[in-house]
């Protein structure tokens, strides 16, 4: 997904001379072709995220469209005030490409886990927050990214994730994609959890539980319309995210459904990472397993909720 994303930056840069790339202190060879062909529009700025965001703002004020790339934690927490004021207050077209959203950097410990990034980005006015589910969807997102007037936070997975998005569905920021029609249950998932949600839905069908899956690739602006439409008639809406339970997709969906509640508004079950720092190492998959966020765990949480009468 990351490779696709960065390749697309180069493609966009060839297409549009407003595109510039700014990295922090990335691995050797990043976007070498772009660096060679357009050295004036390729920047590697070192371990200085505050400056990178401000510099991107200055370039954007002058008409450029900077694509900024570094590790998600440092792109969100370290320079939060610059993101809030330089980018969001000025409403500038800067794209933040965040490596390793969620538990990708599991072996590196809690300093490198971006488990609250969507929450803190979502709370900023003018910010768009997108978590593509696979490399193909990433490419579709990048193709439309030039035209967003304000800042966009793009959350990257580890890479090599199974491709479950479909070209026929297209891609529009803020428009969720129904991958499986709702039944008793509707799972709303974002990022690489969409794949796991589809697998969980398969498990549940085997148990006689019809379960829809909505790919909510854009967490902000949330697709209230499709969420309301597809939630109507289901008994349980389940949100699944590789993110703290505080303030992310689950919170956004709950806010949306509560704001539009009717007597038929379904029960909401939020699945995510509990409100603690991770105390384990291992792999992304092993941590997801621990948090009950692999497909079996998701399915188990849903059957348990149904068995308990949605209490």
């Amino acid at each position: 997904m990351r490779k696709t994303c960065l390749n697309m930056v180069y493609e966009l840069a060839k297409r549009d001379d407003r595109v510039v790339f700014i990295g922090s202190d990335l691995g050797p060879g990043v976007l070498d072709e772009m660096k060679r062909e357009m050295p004036g529009r390729w920047f590697m700025e070192g371990v200085a995220e505050q400056n990178i965001i401000g510099m991107a703002a200055g370039l954007a004020m002058e008409g450029f469209i900077p694509y900024v790339n570094t590790i998600a934690t440092f792109l969100t927490r370290r320079c939060y005030e610059q993101v809030a004021l330089d980018l969001c207050l000025h409403n500038l077209p800067v794209r933040l490409i965040a490596n390793g959203g969620g538990l990708v950097y599991a072996p590196l410990g809690p300093t490198h886990l971006a488990i609250e990034d969507m929450s803190i980005m979502r709370s900023l006015p003018n910010m768009t927050v997108v978590a593509p589910t696979d490399a193909d969807e990433m490419a579709r997102l990048m193709n439309v990214s030039l035209d967003v007037p304000g800042p966009v936070y793009i959350r990257l997975g580890k890479g090599g994730d199974p491709v479950v998005s479909r070209d026929d569905d297209g891609f529009e920021i803020g428009s969720s994609i129904l991958l499986r029609p709702p039944g008793t249950v509707l799972i709303v998932a974002t990022g690489v959890m969409v794949n796991r949600a589809l697998q969980a839905a398969d498990h549940l069908v085997g148990q006689g539980i019809e379960c829809g899956v909505l790919n909510m690739h854009t967490v902000k602006p949330l697709d209230h319309h499709r969420l309301s439409t597809y939630s109507a008639g289901v008994k349980l809406v389940v949100t699944v995210e590789e993110h703290t339970i505080v303030g992310g997709l689950g919170s956004a969906v709950a806010e949306s459904l509560i704001d539009r509640r009717t007597i038929d508004t379904p029960i909401i079950l939020r699945l995510g990472i509990p409100d603690v720092f991770s105390h384990e190492y291992g792999s992304q998959d092993s941590l997801l397993e621990s948090y009950g966020l692999q497909s079996q765990g998701i399915a188990a949480s849903i059957t348990e909720a149904i068995a308990s009468g949605f209490r």
């Binding site: 505050q50 400056n51 510099m55 004020m61 002058e62």
Partner: protein
């Protein structure tokens, strides 16, 4: 700091009519808003005056003119100085100063781009302006444009680490179209900079970060003029001007007194007294 050339007595020059008049505009806003960073606005106003009167290529009737020079007041709390100069040059009506900080006014306690004609960036949180200026200067270089970027910062502001990140970046690219000005009044909010967070050797710091540095008397119009007209100081690196100033300059009892960093709830008599210090309304 403390060299005889820029000692307190050396900075105690008399203000000319225009410098007093611009300071009275600051008092007008202070009166209208009932508050304001008076000390922080009195120290940089002479430098901002010379910049706008004689150096920056700007058009008051066309604030977004693409070829204009860019000035960022990174110490956004000193905005009354910028507002006074912009209003006087006709970027907007000086009447607006009487509505400073009031509901419905476009002049807030910190300057906002898009609201105030002539303001290039919304500042107020400290340590942001230089990075934005670096981006603007790079943009001009990429497009082979000749306009200049000037960023004014406060001395307390440069406690922020982000300033030095930006300084390294400006130096890396040898941005000779970028100028830093430090309003070195030696007082930050709590007290004297040498007690809160010592900055010396300040000129050497900027030199070490790759800037060509000149120190000036920030209230001496001739010194400011000569210095600013000699920009850029070097063809291969950014320029830095350390403006030695007096916080509260022009109001004798406010000068060098940390209590005058920001003032609110001034009585009518106190306001009149401020005007009197500047020769009356």
């Amino acid at each position: 700091m403390g060299t005889a050339e820029f000692s307190e007595s050396a900075l105690a020059s008399l203000l000319d009519d225009r410098s007093r008049y611009l300071r009275k505009l600051i008092i007008t806003a202070l009166e209208g808003g009932g508050r304001g960073h008076i000390g922080s606005s009195m120290s940089p106003i002479d430098a901002i005056r010379v910049l706008y009167d004689e150096i920056l290529n700007v058009r008051p009737n066309d604030p977004q003119w693409p070829d204009r020079d860019r000035f960022i007041l990174s110490k956004g709390h000193g905005c009354l100085a910028l507002y006074a100069v912009l209003a006087d040059l006709g970027f907007f009506s000086a009447d607006e100063l009487t509505r400073f900080c009031r509901k419905g006014s476009f002049l807030g306690g910190h300057p906002e781009k898009g609201k105030v004609p002539g303001v290039e960036a919304s500042t107020g949180a400290l340590g942001h302006g230089l990075s934005i200026g670096v981006g603007m200067a790079l943009a001009a270089r990429i497009r082979d444009l000749n306009h200049r970027v000037v960023v004014m910062m406060g001395d307390g502001e440069i406690n922020e680490g982000s300033v030095w990140e930006a300084a390294m970046s400006a130096s890396k690219y040898g941005l000779n179209n970028l100028t830093v000005m430090v309003d070195y009044n030696k007082i930050q909010s709590y007290g004297f900079t040498d007690q809160v967070q010592p900055l010396e050797p300040l000129a050497d710091k900027w030199r070490a970060f790759g800037f060509e540095v000149v120190e000036v008397n920030g209230h001496d119009l001739a010194d400011l003029r000569a210095t600013l007209k000699s920009l850029p100081f070097a063809s291969d690196r950014p320029s830095a001007i350390i403006c030695h100033t007096i916080k509260g300059k022009g109001i004798p009892y406010a000068e060098n007194d940390p209590a005058w960093h920001h003032k609110s709830h001034l009585s009518d008599d106190q306001i009149e007294d401020l005007y009197d210090c500047l020769g009356g309304r």
